[in-house]
């Protein structure tokens, strides 16, 4: 029977207090690991959302605001870019590619992004990965739509189905463009970015649905693309954030029935059919994807050389036609991090403090029970245990408690991730991986173990001196 098993058995003898302490440590460990995992995954999730894009251009606003609205679908652009400006700028020397994007509409709470075919050939995310199709293909004419993987999964859409895109960001938009049903021709593979929750349509579709709807709509005045009016902003804030997240399901049912009217039979029929013969590609003729848009929300650009990036960026920022802003996503992302840095640090600090408190709890328990254990120490001394044996015994106990606290905490952490995964993915687009502990997390656990051991030194020192002064005489 060695010292470790002696420490283990002695701890087991006081299991109720030991378990409480252990559980406190476990919860604090879970908290620390979860916060750190979410923080890191959020960061990498953000960093992975866009890749290989040299410039993002939008109407003049804050750098971070433009980045958030154009890439992360967070917030909204207040102004738009004139189509002529886009046409002009993309002709500049050194421009390798450009992707126009038009945001502001939604389909059952999912952002609708109007673009052209360059989106599918040039957009990169993660580590310069291209968008890949799980089923189907990119759109080739104005009546086709490509879904992000989450949209398809959540709304149970399949290739060939017809859907209706509504105007405005809210789920509760009053007017659905019943006259413009669009055919799903492609479903993207999951990317772990907001693209998964985006409905991609050709620019012309956005133009058309607003053009046909603008008579009925009080919100669309003369320019169908100028939706980020104050009203739209209001409706966005309110509906898209909370309301339609909650009532999504009811609404989707509801809407289906409502806007299905004309083709009710058809759509139902379609549904049933596609349930069975699912991933059949949809045949269609190529057509105009762009139409005659007057405005877009923003555009992404890639350049042949970084030299051109800086040059064109300067030109855009000084563009005479209208006030425009060009940002370099990587730079702006870094700015965003430095802004969030203090929040991150506070979060980390808090979780570290919680861990420390739990370890102090252990220290208190060990010190409190120590006096009752002086007999135990005296007996051990009488059979020849040296003071350092006593010291190691007490330290060992702290190590055992911390170790099991860390193990249990890690288990709880994985459970928490498992539970939080779908929620975080749906609400914030942060994809948490249920991967093994990273080396950083292992280091965190190591630091906790070290701190626990250091805590154990205090009662151990005291026991050491008890054992020196009490000797074999039992003083209890």
């Amino acid at each position: 029977m060695n010292l470790a098993s002696l420490a283990f058995k002695s701890s087991w003898n006081r299991k109720s207090s030991v378990f409480l302490t252990l559980f406190t440590i476990a919860i604090s460990v879970m908290l620390l690991l979860s916060i750190e995992r979410v923080r890191q995954e959020a960061k990498s999730s953000f960093a992975n959302t866009i890749s290989g894009t040299d410039l993002i251009v939008g109407a003049r606003t804050g750098d971070i605001q433009l980045l958030l609205s154009s890439v992360f679908r967070i917030g909204h652009a207040n102004n738009a870019v004139q189509w002529q400006s886009y046409e002009y700028i993309k002709q500049q020397r050194g421009v390798a590619w450009s992707i126009p994007i038009s945001l502001g509409d939604s389909h059952k709470g999912h952002a609708v992004l109007g673009t052209d075919s360059s989106y599918f050939t040039h957009f990169r995310y993660g580590k310069k990965q291209m968008l890949a199709f799980a089923h189907g293909r990119a759109f080739v004419n104005g009546g086709e739509v490509v879904l992000g993987s989450d949209v398809a999964k959540k709304l149970n859409y399949h290739l060939g189905e017809q859907i209706v895109i509504s105007h405005g960001m809210g789920n509760t938009s009053f007017h659905h463009h019943d006259d413009n049903p669009m055919t799903i021709v492609g479903i993207l593979k999951p990317t772990g970015t907001p693209i998964d929750r985006t409905v991609h349509v050709p620019l012309i579709a956005i133009d058309e649905m607003h053009g046909s709807g603008h008579n009925k709509s009080p919100r669309i005045v003369d320019n169908p693309l100028n939706k980020p009016s104050n009203e739209a902003a209001y409706s966005h804030d309110h509906h898209s954030q909370s309301e339609h997240e909650h009532s999504e399901h009811e609404h989707s049912e509801h809407q289906h029935n409502e806007h299905g009217h004309g083709e009710h039979e058809h759509s139902k029929h379609g549904h049933g059919e596609h349930q069975h013969k699912n991933h059949q590609p949809v045949e269609s003729k190529p057509g105009d994807l762009i139409g005659e848009p007057k405005q877009i929300t923003a555009f992404l650009m890639g350049f042949d050389s970084p030299l051109y990036t800086l040059q064109v960026r300067r030109n855009i920022n000084q563009y005479q036609g209208e006030p425009l802003l060009a940002i370099m996503p990587s730079v702006t992302l870094r700015e965003l991090w430095s802004m969030l840095d203090i929040v991150e640090k506070i979060l980390l600090l808090f979780s570290i403090v919680v861990v420390l408190i739990s370890l102090l709890g252990m220290l208190t328990t060990l010190l409190a029970t120590l006096n009752q254990r002086r007999r135990e120490l005296a007996i051990l001394r009488s059979v020849g245990a040296r003071p350092w044996h006593i010291f190691s015994l007490l330290t060992g106990e702290a190590v055992i408690i911390t170790l099991f606290g860390c193990l249990l905490g890690t288990a709880l952490f994985f459970m928490a991730i498992l539970l939080a995964q779908p929620v975080l993915q749906a609400q914030f687009g942060i994809s948490l991986s249920l991967s093994m502990l990273s080396s950083y997390e292992v280091k965190l656990l190591g630091a906790i173990m070290l701190a626990g051991t250091v805590m154990g030194i205090f009662p151990a020192l005291r026991a050491y001196y008890y054992s020196l002064s009490d000797g074999m005489s039992i003083k209890v």
């Binding site: 029977m1 087991w12 007999r375 044996h389 074999m472 005489s473």
Partner: protein, 225 residues
């Protein structure tokens, strides 16, 4: 076996010495009754004999070893190897079973382990049987044993690995009169098997007649008033 010469010991912050023994000799296999009321310095003497406390003046020789020349760690080792101890009561670690408690006697001593003829566990079991703790009692938890039974387990722990000196510090004071003599009888039987010396400390005079020799600490301790 034990030779004490001119031993003077005072605790820190106490100007007057607690112990002042000019001469005490105990021979191998002797069974000594050390009579000491509280305050006579018996805990101090036990601490010095067992090597818990360092000798300040004079010397103690146990088994031809000058205790004074040993470092604290060596004294701990010496105690582990050569001395078995029985306390007044609650001798046992409550989180170990009786057999494990007995095995603890050899925990810190290779020398005592090497004297065993059987495995450590088997030795513990047979020693317990010899001391009247049978199979069913061995399986019980320590807290379920009566005080008398606990003291027998403690005695087994003291005797395992045949240490030359057994120090028993009022081991019978929690027992009733009948079990006292029976317990002492058991100690003697066990000690006789390998000529162990027994230093039995008590303030109960009635037990003195069972022993080879009675030593009154008050008489030999010049510091006691």
């Amino acid at each position: 076996m034990i030779e004490i010469n001119n031993l003077v010991f005072s605790w820190p912050k106490h100007p007057a010495p607690t112990l002042d023994i000019s001469k005490l000799t105990i021979s191998q296999g002797e069974r000594i009754f050390l009579h000491g009321p509280s305050g006579s310095g018996k805990s101090t003497l036990i601490g010095l004999l067992a090597g818990i406390n360092a000798i300040q003046a004079g010397d103690i020789k146990i088994l031809d070893t000058q205790m004074r020349q040993l470092s604290a760690a060596k004294r701990d080792q010496f105690r582990a190897d050569h001395i078995g101890t029985i306390f007044q009561n609650f001798n046992l670690l409550p989180f170990l079973d009786p057999i494990e408690n007995v095995m603890l006697g050899c925990q810190y001593s290779k020398a005592r382990k090497s004297k065993l003829t059987q495995s450590l566990q088997q030795s513990a079991i047979s020693l317990l049987e010899n001391l009247g703790i049978g199979h069913t009692l061995q399986a019980k938890s320590v807290s379920e044993l009566s005080i008398g039974q606990q003291q027998r387990v403690a005695a087994a722990r003291a005797f395992i690995g045949q240490p030359e000196l057994i120090i028993a510090d009022e081991p019978t004071s929690a027992l009733d009169a009948d079990s006292r003599e029976a317990f002492i009888e058991t100690l003697f039987n066990q000690a006789e098997k390998y000529q162990a010396t027994i230093l039995f400390v008590s303030h109960d005079h009635s037990l003195a007649q069972l022993f080879d020799r009675k030593v009154s600490l008050n008489e030999i301790n010049g510091a006691a008033q």
